[in-house]
Amino acid sequence: MSTKPFNAIGIGVTFSPNLKANIYEAARLSLMFNSRLILIHVGEKSSDKEAKFQSILESFTSDDLDVELVFKLGKTVDVILSASKEKSIDLLILGALQRENFLKYYVGSIARKITRRAECSVLLLVKPSEERVQCEHVVVNGLKDPKTEQTISLAFYVAHTLGADKVTVVEEITEEELAIKVEDDKSLRMANIAKERIRLRENSRVKRIIENIPRTYTNDIAIKSQPIFGQKGYSIGHYAQIARADLLVMNAPSKMTFWDRLFPHDIEHILTELPTDVLIIQ
């Protein structure tokens, strides 16, 4: 992991009621990660708009925030994706929508398309706010996947930077992995032994990954690893909700085909039902 994983942070901005909160969140993160902030607006460039953005950013200019405004015409999804490529953005911030009169959040169709196709990491915010809300608990997936090592170390970097005090590494263990169907007392006993073995194996795997992370990031954080048994992707979101996590960090999905959308798994579950802020690491 490089010492500074997020050089440029991008955010798509439109004139919505959430504009101020979105920009505040993005600006704060840019300051914390010491990175450049790029505001992407889909539409004509005008001095009027520019002035408006600048006025919102005013309170951050004293902190030497490096901001760039990009105006571009075209389809929202394409503009944001191409702009993030051109400006080599490392982290793209997207806002989520809230289901009417319920405390449930989901990702709108545009943000979803961007998430699927983005080549950089994506941060989905469920409740952007102007005031800073302390991030205390980060949940990260510990799937057995080549990407996981990087994801976990980035999660610790983010947790450290945001001042979180607890990181939980969740290992999702699927039914198939267990390979024993419980039918009677004997198979139940076997399954429990197998589960315990998997649990120990997963714990030691995660522990090894954590040992490779620089001490500065892990020192003052309480680390917990929690194996859960359930559907990949969905269960971790459910867990994050119960554990009242402030940020969920996940691997980016390997590849997306038509079938993946039809039979949702992994990240797609999270997108329909955002439990909390979600950071998808590319």
Binding site: K127, E183, D184, S187, N192, D220, H238, Q241
Partner: protein, 730 residues
């Protein structure tokens, strides 16, 4: 090897018990088998064949332990339709096909099939089957054979039959009717008589013995013919040799027809539902607390049904009444099922001529009683007490089953249930959007190794199998906590099933707690009533949840006062550090000692404001000390360290207690006072007890552990901890 040897020796040791149990069961199986077969309009011996084949095959290949297999009540209705539309020989073919399907279900591990039916719909279907049996046999019991097109007509004609029976002139008919009424009386009053010699022989066998004795009395003593009309005597019980020699011809020619396959499907459906429900029920009775392999049993039942069909028998299912008699007579393994079959064979070989001396009305009285049991007003009352809406489901299923058929009936029950659920929630999207989501999360908590299960969205008969799947993999001697606080709707099928699981866990030394239903509303006081999460919680709740009832029990047990209502005044909490950044909404479910020194309560509070607001519900213990102690916070190392570090506190080391220092985090302003307060007794107490977050505000303590509601077991532990802590401190 030694394990094998010991299991063989226990097998041999328990053999006499199992032989006896098998014998008693065969006494019931004989009349029931004959009766059920005759009620289905099959030759009476067909029921015995099913019982014998079932007993042998299932005891060898089955996966359950103390169940009995044989012809079932539920199938009477379907078999009756099959035999009247297809004819007997094609029905045997249908039985064979349904056996194949049943075995396939077993191979596909479809043991969970029965979970997809709402319990009220199943009740309605069983009641309908009961009425079908009762309606048809009632007339025969009163020696008044009639033939009607519709099942409902049979029921409607019951008063006429009674009227006719009272005015019989034919002596043969009068005697037949008297035999029927007396037998019914025996069935009804037998359970009320508490005589240990009388109870040695089951009621159905008494009927058989008495009627055979009656017939011999006339023949040997009075030298007269049996006064009961010959039309109303059992006919066509073949000699044992004939059964072997004359296998019925099985007619597969109708295999292409629609009515054939609808019979096969109905047979398979009812056979699997009846068997699965019975296996589950018998597992609860098993004194050795074993778990049945449902899928293996389905395969064995399928195989037995195939065999039975070829030999001219009925479908083989697991039957609850005979199985419970089996357990009551201390059967310990499958061999009793085998012996029940053996004794049946012996009966047929030795007594097949005597069996023809049984009057038909006597036999049918047994069935009338079984039918009545299935459709008794008690069932309806019970369902009504769960909720009015359940009654609608029940009656829709009942009438459609009677009017159209079993499969249509159960389907209409499922559809009605779904529609009612949608109406109650005023939303179909809750179900449609979430039905395919894997909404159940289970993990083992690090502290205490509890199994924690959280259910999201909704939990009804549509997706109960997911929850069940998780529950099935937990050993029953463990502690389970099911949290429904994220679940908007829980239906009564789930509540009922969970109650079964609770009983199972309690019986086997585990604990099973359901939390998070306190905010849900139910229409009735019944513990199985369906529950819906209210957007605005009611001030006055109409009923208590199981957990609240448990708390009430704890209150009486420990001589505490219990208050379930919400209380908004929570100023006694304000002085605690923990609540400085939180706003408390209310406390509820309070358990307090008479002097209000110890107080356990559920609390709802929120962190943050407006959009960042998060509502938390947890259980806490408040201990009033009545003396000044220093203010401090004690917790596991590293849990809340950060939060308090902001306030300028840091960990206070206690000298000569490195273990305590390593494991606990102690914070407070007045370091010296805290150091003197934490003497050896107090430190030893904390070191040797479970971890809790403990806060002192100077004259009271606040103790809690998790950011979720506590289960009843945890409440007891917490209370005990508080009591001892108070003793140590004062």
């Amino acid at each position: 090897m030694s394990q094998n040897k010991s299991s063989i020796s226990t097998f041999v040791k328990t053999l006499p018990k199992n032989i006896f149990a098998g014998f008693v069961v065969s006494l019931i199986a004989l009349p029931l088998g004959l009766g059920l077969a005759m009620a289905s309009e099959a030759p009476p011996i067909a029921g015995i064949i099913a019982a014998v084949v079932g007993g042998v095959v299932v005891s060898i290949f089955g996966g359950s332990h103390v169940t009995i297999a044989g012809p079932g009540n539920g199938l009477v209705g379907v078999l009756l339709v099959a035999i009247t539309t297809l004819g007997l020989e094609s029905t045997y073919a249908a039985v064979i096909c349904s056996g194949i399907l049943l075995a396939v279900l077993g191979f596909l591990r479809m043991g969970k099939l029965a979970d997809f039916f709402p319990s009220s719909a199943i009740q309605g279907m069983l009641a309908a089957i009961g009425l079908i049996i009762l309606g048809k046999q009632f007339h025969i019991m009163l020696a008044h054979k009639i033939k009607r097109e519709d099942t409902i007509d049979y029921l409607l004609e019951i008063p006429y039959t009674i009227n006719d029976a009272v005015h019989y002139n034919n002596e043969g008919l009068i005697f037949a009717a008297i035999a029927g009424v007396l037998s019914l009386a025996i069935m009804m009053f037998y359970p009320k008589i508490r005589n240990k010699y009388l109870q040695l022989i089951p009621a159905p066998m008494w009927i058989v013995i008495l009627s055979v004795a009656f017939s011999y009395y006339f023949e040997l003593v009075e030298h007269e013919a049996n006064p009961i009309d010959q039309l109303y005597m059992i006919s066509g019980i073949p000699e044992f040799n004939d059964i072997i020699a004359q296998l019925p011809s099985v007619d597969f020619s109708k295999i292409g027809s629609f009515s054939f396959w609808s019979s096969v499907l109905a047979l398979t459906l009812i056979a699997s539902i009846e068997s699965l429900l019975s296996i589950k029920a018998v597992d609860k009775l098993d004194p050795e607390k074993r778990r049945s392999n449902v899928n293996l049993d389905l395969k064995a039942l399928g195989l037995a049904t195939i065999g039975s069909g070829f030999l001219g028998g009925l479908n083989v299912v697991t039957v609850i009444a005979r199985s419970s008699v089996n357990v009551n007579n201390s059967a310990t393994n499958r061999s009793s099922n085998f012996f029940h079959a053996t004794f049946l064979v012996i009966f047929i070989v030795l007594f097949s001529t005597q069996l023809t001396r049984i009057p038909l009305p006597a036999l049918m009285a047994i069935l009338v009683f079984t039918g009545y049991k299935l459709a008794s007003p008690k069932t309806i009352r019970n369902i009504f007490s769960i909720g009015k809406e359940q009654l609608i489901i029940f009656f829709v299923t009942l009438f459609v089953t009677l009017k159209v058929g079993l499969i249509t009936g159960i389907l209409s029950g499922v559809i009605t249930t779904f529609i009612i659920h949608v109406l109650i929630n005023r939303s179909s999207s809750l179900f449609l959007r979430n039905v395919l989501k894997p909404n159940v999360l289970m993990y083992q908590e690090e502290q205490g190794r509890n199994y924690y299960i959280s259910v999201k969205h909704f939990c009804s008969f549509l997706n109960f199998y997911r929850l069940k799947q998780k529950l099935e993999v937990i050993p029953e001697n463990q502690d389970v906590i099911i949290d429904f606080s994220l679940c908007e709707f829980v239906d009564n099928t789930v509540m009922e099933n969970l109650n079964n699981y609770r009983n199972l866990f309690i019986k086997r030394g585990g604990h099973f707690d359901v939390v998070g239903l306190d905010l849900h509303d139910a229409d009735s006081k019944h513990p199985f009533a369906l529950r819906r999460l209210l957007p605005v919680p009611n001030i006055v709740k109409s009923s208590l949840t199981k957990r609240q009832n448990n708390m009430q029990e704890i209150a009486t047990d420990y001589a505490l006062i219990y208050q379930s209502k919400k209380e908004k005044t929570t100023h006694f909490l304000d002085a605690f550090h923990f609540f400085r950044t939180k706003s408390t909404h209310h406390i509820y479910n309070q358990l307090l000692t008479k002097n209000e020194v110890l107080k356990i309560f559920d609390i709802e509070f929120s962190e943050g404001e407006f959009i960042a607001k998060e509502t938390v519900r947890t259980t806490m213990l408040y201990v009033a000390l009545g003396k000044r102690i220093p203010e401090f916070t004690l917790d596991r190392e590293g849990f809340l360290e950060k939060v308090y570090a902001f306030a300028g506190f840091k960990d206070i080391p206690i000298q000569e207690h490195s273990d305590f220092n390593r494991r606990f985090y102690l914070l407070g302003e007045d370091e010296d006072a805290i150091k003197t307060f934490f003497n050896d007794d107090i430190i030893h107490f904390f070191e040797s007890n479970p971890y809790y977050h403990i806060e002192s505000n100077g004259n009271a303590l606040l103790v809690f552990s998790k950011e979720r509601l506590a289960s009843t077991k945890e409440i007891k532990t917490l209370f005990d901890f508080g009591k001892r802590l108070k003793n140590v401190i004062s």
